[in-house]
Symmetry: C2
Subunit: 356 residues, 2 copies
DNA sequence: ATTATTTGCGCAAACGTTTTCGTGTTGAAA
DNA sequence: TTTCAACACGAAAACGTTTGCGCAAATAAT
């Protein structure tokens, strides 16, 4: 087990100084061709690779991006990570992942753990608990320390940073419009409570679509699920709640659900009540995951282009990081110019809606 | 934007030496209570946190684990990551993720990128291309440099390191036995080509189960899918191949598929051919993902306890890392004692098999 | 009053780099 | 021969820590 070779060791072996070795390896003209070749040959022989940590310390940047997400066992988030990793890698960055498990404390701890020099910037999506408590001090502190943040999907206006969001409102609106133009008269929505920003926006899209078609929305057709029931452990409760909803609204002929799980469960319940999909009830979900594609019937859904979001977020972050380099210490950092990128959604039609 | 405060700055402000500050913060008895309190108060006020990179350089360890997996948009792998992250975090480690995309080159590059000091050890699952080429030099080189590796799921005998695998053989065997005891007479298997070790093992389990029940296996009932078709882009091809398989074998009454996708697709095709599940054909899959749970009918499946695998792998790695610390440079590292942990599978019965 | 001991703190090295600035040697120009 | 530039290399600082050791001052023991 030969340990990793360092400049110092090469220097000692070749009886030159450390600086000579360093320069020789970086092809400095300062060093004679003779020495250069000697050093490079030796380095290659012993597989010399500069120590990343030492470089990070010296350069005061790690070439590493920190990702904080609520959950990784989740099609959407893992796709975002894939997008981030893709461009990060392409641009010479690594990716370090922290999971908040939707909990405020873990979010804070994870960020503190990484903010102490381990990374150059964050890409994150806010945990539900944080959104509920509306305590965003950790984001501000991080930004104040000069560490850029890019938020995606679950963002919050209070924080000044780059953001990548999906066009929840219009995505939902178009989905509901699709149901309307497919002939639905009583469209229900299954959504989250309002403090989940994406849920609120999607609900709003639903309402706007109805309004523009001069249809009065009925509160009885709006089911707001407590996010506690989202986890796979509470599938039964979720199902029961939706069942109750169906019992109270026997005339539903269209359902818009703000995520796959709600949509799938709704289809299941609808069938249990003897409805045919899409003949009796048409269903559209949000988030184009594995479930939508493989459900029976396959689910018409609003695709969020999760991977694109990740790629865009990574580009935004890295751009800012490398921009900071150029105008390093321009002090008056020319009025921060943060942007919010909106990723357009796409309605993917499958078998849970009628093909007209 | 106040930048991160360092020991040096505190020292300057308080007009003491850097070492005094460091010692004061670590509650050294060497420093007077007076100074200690002063320093600590100041440090707290300015939110001093030791720089991780500097610590890593000094201690020659990063408290970071590198994960290399073929794919992250995948229920199994993301669950493993969740397990790793869970215990890593609990034990004070971070987790840095690299994706190989099933490609040999990306696997190598990713590992080299991380092996230069960024991490203390690897947890990885081998890419399909690497398995195909059987080129494992990068693993050996890493290990030779003193960086421990823990492999999970897709492992290989040629490499000497800790491993965590699922009991593929027995898991499959019991699944097939379940089909047999449920009355199936013509059980087909849909599996991968043999170079994917897990596919090979699961096929072997299938064969052993039949053999023990004195049933001759028929090669016509064994469908080995080319992994190229695994990706979501080739769903149609996969479906067609399975359709052809069905056409050639009209008497199938039981299917064992080595993953969810194959199982789901098989069910779809079976229905297309007019079969009822589980009445005409019973199906069992492998890997307990979202699809199995939410499919119609829900899929009986062999659960691999992915999260447990991740947790176990992380524990193995960290144990080895911290063990190295104690006997640091014991030189003759007392004949390496690597273990292979087998995670037992569990048959989760749902609606794609008959409840007797 | 002298010596011994404790107390409180700073120096310097080390981790592995990169880079600026010297400096001694060589060869050519004066 | 003297002067000067070019050449080839080394010393040292810096990034931010931790820690063994030395040293002075203050206290205690003789």
């Amino acid at each position: 087990m030969r340990r990793k070779v360092t400049l110092k060791q090469i220097a000692r072996e070749l009886d030159v100084s450390i600086s000579t070795v360093s320069k020789a390896l970086r092809h400095s003209k300062e060093i004679s061709e003779d020495t250069r070749e000697k050093v490079q040959a030796f380095a290659k022989l012993y597989h010399y690779r500069p120590n990343n940590i030492a470089l990070s310390l010296k350069n005061r940047k790690t070439k590493t991006i920190g990702i904080i997400i609520p959950e990784i066992v989740h099609h959407f988030f893992s796709k975002v990570i894939r997008g981030i990793e893709l461009v990060a890698n392409k641009r010479g960055y690594n990716v370090i992942v922290g999971l908040s498990n939707e909990a405020f404390d873990k979010e804070v701890i994870n960020m503190e753990m990484l903010a102490n020099g381990s990374i150059d910037g964050f890409i994150l999506s806010i945990s539900k608990q944080t959104l509920l408590q509306q305590d965003y001090h950790h984001f501000n502190e991080t930004i104040n320390q000069g560490m850029p943040i890019v938020m995606f999907d679950r963002v919050v206006n209070e924080i000044n940073c780059d953001k990548v969001i999906v066009d929840d409102l219009n995505g939902s609106k178009r989905a509901v419009e699709k149901l309307l133009s497919n002939g639905c008269k009583n469209i229900a929505i299954i959504t989250t409570k309002d403090y989940v920003s994406v849920g609120r926006l999607r609900t709003q899209g639903y309402l706007e679509a109805l309004e523009e078609h001069k249809i009065y929305s009925k509160s009885s057709l709006i089911l707001k699920i407590d996010v506690e029931l989202d986890s796979e452990d509470h599938l039964d409760d979720l199902e029961k709640e939706i069942e109750q909803f169906f019992k109270n609204n026997r005339n539903i002929d269209g359902i818009f659900a703000v995520n796959e799980l709600y949509a799938i469960t709704a289809m299941k319940v609808a069938r249990k009540f003897g409805n045919q999909i899409p003949d009796d009830i048409q269903v559209i979900g949000f988030t184009d995951g594995v479930l939508s594609k493989h459900a029976t019937p396959s689910l018409t859904t609003v695709s969020q282009h999760a991977q694109d979001m990740g790629e865009k977020a990574a580009d935004l972050l890295i751009n800012r990081l490398e921009l900071d380099i150029d105008q390093e210490e321009g002090e008056e950092e020319e009025e921060e110019h943060y942007q919010t990128v909106i990723i357009e959604t796409e309605l993917i039609e499958r078998d849970s809606t009628k093909a007209l």
